[in-house]
């Protein structure tokens, strides 16, 4: 009888391994499947390339135009990253202020909501008037569109410190800044990283909007030029490159998150954390 146990445990481990492998492969399978269905649909219904180009055609266009795609993608990545970093700095500072002071919250929140409701595409022309077409309007649009989720999440993390914990520290004579440093900020980190995942993707939206309106480089600009020449496969190539950059940056955010705030997702399908000490 006892001999059976290790065997079944082995079988269980093997099943778990298979499952994990499937989980890792699944995103790629889904993406591949989507392109296959797309390709098949375009061929089956004989859709014209200037309406919906087949993935094979887009790939061809990518190979053909790899150099402009790469330089423009680099420009977009640069503006997005700069805008995103500004959003992190500003969002963290404002989030801490709003989360730790009811007065700041009451005073600033309505303005923030109003500000966030303004379509950023309407702001771009103003930025162009101020800074001229090109780098800065794209950076600032990425910044403007991506700081809001960071502010809201950091503020939430800091404002929801358990009252008992606050009492323990206050009773010891802790100043508000001590409470923020020892409890508020570490506690807000999971919220902060959750917001980064949203912010980085919308930052791309921001910079590309700006590039589409007024710029002489960047993926948005490239897509605008391509569509004016009815080069629809190249427009789609630009979209796909943008998607890839978004996923890559998202992955960076997730990796940093896992390294720094593993305590917040303990035991969720991570055996290293569940048994570690």
């Amino acid at each position: 009888m006892p001999a059976d146990i290790p065997r079944s445990a082995e079988a269980l481990a093997a099943a778990a391994r298979r499952r994990r492998r499937l989980e890792h492969a699944l995103p790629w399978l889904v993406i591949a499947g989507m392109f296959l269905v797309w390709e098949a649909a375009v061929r089956a219904f004989d859709i014209q390339p200037f309406i919906l180009p087949a993935p094979s055609l887009i790939a061809e266009s990518m190979v053909k135009w790899w150099q402009p795609l790469l330089t423009n993608a680099w420009a977009t990545l640069l503006t997005t990253t700069v805008g995103f970093l500004m959003a992190i700095a500003f969002g963290l500072a404002l989030g801490v202020a709003i989360g730790s002071s009811v007065l700041v919250y009451r005073g600033l929140y309505p303005l923030l909501i109003a500000f966030n409701s303004v379509p950023k595409v309407a702001v771009v022309p103003i930025l162009v008037i101020w800074f001229g077409a090109g780098f800065w309007p794209a950076v600032l649009t990425a910044f403007l569109i991506s700081f809001f989720p960071i502010v809201v999440n950091v503020a939430t993390g800091i404002a929801t410190v358990e009252p008992e914990l606050r009492d323990v520290l206050r009773a010891l004579g802790a100043r508000p800044i001590d409470i923020i440093a020892k409890v508020g900020l570490p506690r807000a980190m999971p919220y902060f990283f959750a917001s980064l995942k949203v912010a980085i993707t919308v930052a791309f939206v921001g910079s590309i909007i700006s590039e589409t309106v007024a710029a002489n480089e960047g993926i948005g600009h490239l897509m605008l030029v391509a569509s004016s020449r009815f080069d629809v496969p190249l427009v789609f190539a630009g979209l796909i490159v943008t998607g890839v950059m978004g996923v890559a940056m998202y992955w960076v955010a997730v990796t940093i998150e896992e390294r720094t705030t593993g305590w917040a997702t303990r035991g969720q399908n991570d055996p290293r954390l569940a048994t570690g000490g």
Partner: protein
């Protein structure tokens, strides 16, 4: 029990109202004295303002009326000579147990100044404390790797690490199962005997109150005040067998009756 000329904690005619003039009156005319090194338990019907009393004594909130004097000084702000523990252990999930216990040292003077230069000394102290409550070997674990009872032990250590002269416990064992709770009673008893802090234990468990304290104070329904007290005669160290003796049960019953009376008498004009 020590018979000092002036009590360590002196609460005199204290009233506490939340939320302005029309707010809830949590306490009215509450008065009590606690001697230095005394262990008192405060019991009462739920919502009688026991936790409010704690927050007043530690200076977290100022009273609406009356005075609170601790260690000869009127309380006007947070007291760093107090340690607190609550029903919820409130450990920080990103810190291991040792770092959690050492948190007050990063806040309270003079430890805060000395922590960096004398880290070894303080760490040793925290480890000794963890050993005292039976958590030796768990220093590097994180709170979520510990059971509720173990987390509460760590929370107790955190309340004690800066050698507070006053220990405020707000239903610290309320969320634990009976066996764990009884274990922790003895842990608390040992800690008290080893360090003799003044303890104010707020609880709704009468057995716990009688087993642990020198004196049990009974509060009325809201607005709360102290309506009766009962001295507990047993010498320490007490053993759990004591709780099964007839005399002990009688004390518990007596307290129970007084609380039911309090609830009946005070219910109609609660506001």
């Amino acid at each position: 029990m020590t018979a000092l000329p002036s009590p360590f904690v002196q609460i005199d005619g204290v009233a506490m109202r939340y939320g302005g003039v029309e707010g809830t009156l949590a306490l009215r005319g509450a008065s009590l004295d606690v001697g230095e090194g005394e262990f008192i338990a405060v019991v009462g019907p739920s919502g009688c303002g026991k936790s409010t009393l704690m927050r007043l004594v530690t200076g977290l909130w100022p009273p609406t009326e009356g005075t609170v004097i601790v260690a000869g000084k009127e309380v006007s702000g947070p007291l760093s000579i107090a340690g607190m523990a609550f029903q919820n252990p409130t450990l920080l999930p990103w810190r291991n147990i040792l770092d959690n216990v050492m948190l007050p040292l990063e806040v309270v003077q003079p430890h805060r100044r000395q922590l960096r230069s004398q880290r070894g000394h303080y760490e040793h102290k925290a480890r000794e404390l963890l050993k005292l409550v039976g958590l030796a070997g768990f220093e590097a674990k994180f709170p979520w790797q510990l059971s509720g009872g173990m987390q509460q032990r760590a929370s107790l250590c955190r309340a004690l690490v800066h050698d507070p002269r006053l220990l405020m416990l707000d239903e610290p064992f309320g969320a634990l199962d009976v066996f764990t709770r009884e274990d922790l009673w003895d842990v608390l008893q040992d800690v008290w005997m080893a360090r003799k802090p003044t303890v104010i234990l707020v609880t709704h468990d009468l057995k716990e109150a009688v087993y642990l304290s020198d004196r049990v104070l009974i509060m009325s329904s809201r607005p709360g005040r102290i309506i009766a007290e009962r001295t507990v005669p047993y010498p320490r160290r007490r053993s759990l067998d004591l709780t099964y003796t007839a005399e002990f049960q009688d004390i518990v019953h007596e307290l129970r009756d007084r609380i039911s009376d309090a609830r009946k008498a005070e219910a109609p004009d609660a506001r």
